[in-house]
Symmetry: C2
Subunit: 158 residues, 2 copies
């Protein structure tokens, strides 16, 4: 019943760096894959403790750092809130809901690049991009709409 690791070829990748896919790293990775809701390090810690009670928070931080360096998960930031972690490796942005706190993946449109919209100064070299939105997720936006029935729509965007 308990599924084995969902990291098929990752052992080879990590070994290529002289590192090992330890039980702790696998547990952290599987935890991220099992509930892909962009948890913080502390949330990962609490979840992974369920299957590995002896793991420490420092180890969770270490494992997350290693997984990020190996490119297996993304480190996600919003303002100066605690970091979150995301195993979706497709290029995408994040929407942080002000109401429920959920983080939603926002896909890049097919065939589009950021350079279509942002005028990068010539000669610039871009290595990493991070796009984040703050607002209301579809569920909360709909709920607010319902609650505000009778009011003008304008106060939603206020």
């Amino acid at each position: 019943m308990k599924p084995q690791s969902e990291s098929p070829n990752y052992d080879a990748t990590i070994a290529g760096r002289g590192l090992r896919m330890t039980d702790q790293r696998r547990a952290v990775y599987d935890t991220l894959m099992g509930q892909r809701d962009h948890p913080t390090a502390v949330e990962v810690f609490m979840r992974v403790k369920g299957r590995m009670p002896s793991i420490s928070l420092a180890t969770v931080y270490n494992c997350l750092e290693t997984l990020v360096e190996c490119g297996f998960v993304r480190h996600v930031h919003h303002d100066r809130e605690p970091s979150r972690y995301c195993p979706n490796l497709e290029e995408h942005a994040h929407l942080f809901c002000e109401s429920c706190g959920a983080v939603t993946d926002v896909p890049l449109r097919a065939e589009r690049t950021l350079e279509d919209v942002w005028e990068m100064p010539r000669d610039t070299i871009v290595l990493k991009r991070e796009v984040s939105f703050r607002g209301f997720c579809p569920e909360c936006a709909a709920r607010k709409q319902a609650e505000g029935e009778g009011d003008t729509a304008s106060n939603l965007k206020q």
Copy 2:
């Protein structure tokens, strides 16, 4: 010689919130306008101390927060590095140079919106956007190019 405040109509805006454009707030704002290089709070503190030696770091933090809330300056983030502050109110992204640490404004192309590139789930409400790039600013990219003469171009993007 010493220029007066560069915040013409801001006194009215801030007063509308029951707040006051105090000497400290004006000094912090003028400091940001005087050297628009995205300083951290501590950098603002050191600069503003030149003209107002008695100001405290806590006050600089308070002033920056107020200026951000009033919409006079933008709070800029990158990963979990210390916050930076930007008085450019046009919609723009930021490029953080890995080599020299400079932060460069990247303008939005005319007539473009983020929705051209990101497929926002329907019903989403977006209140705030933040786009940040990490890489090399034009100067550092050029310098690296010169240094790496003879090598293939590929190691630049590596």
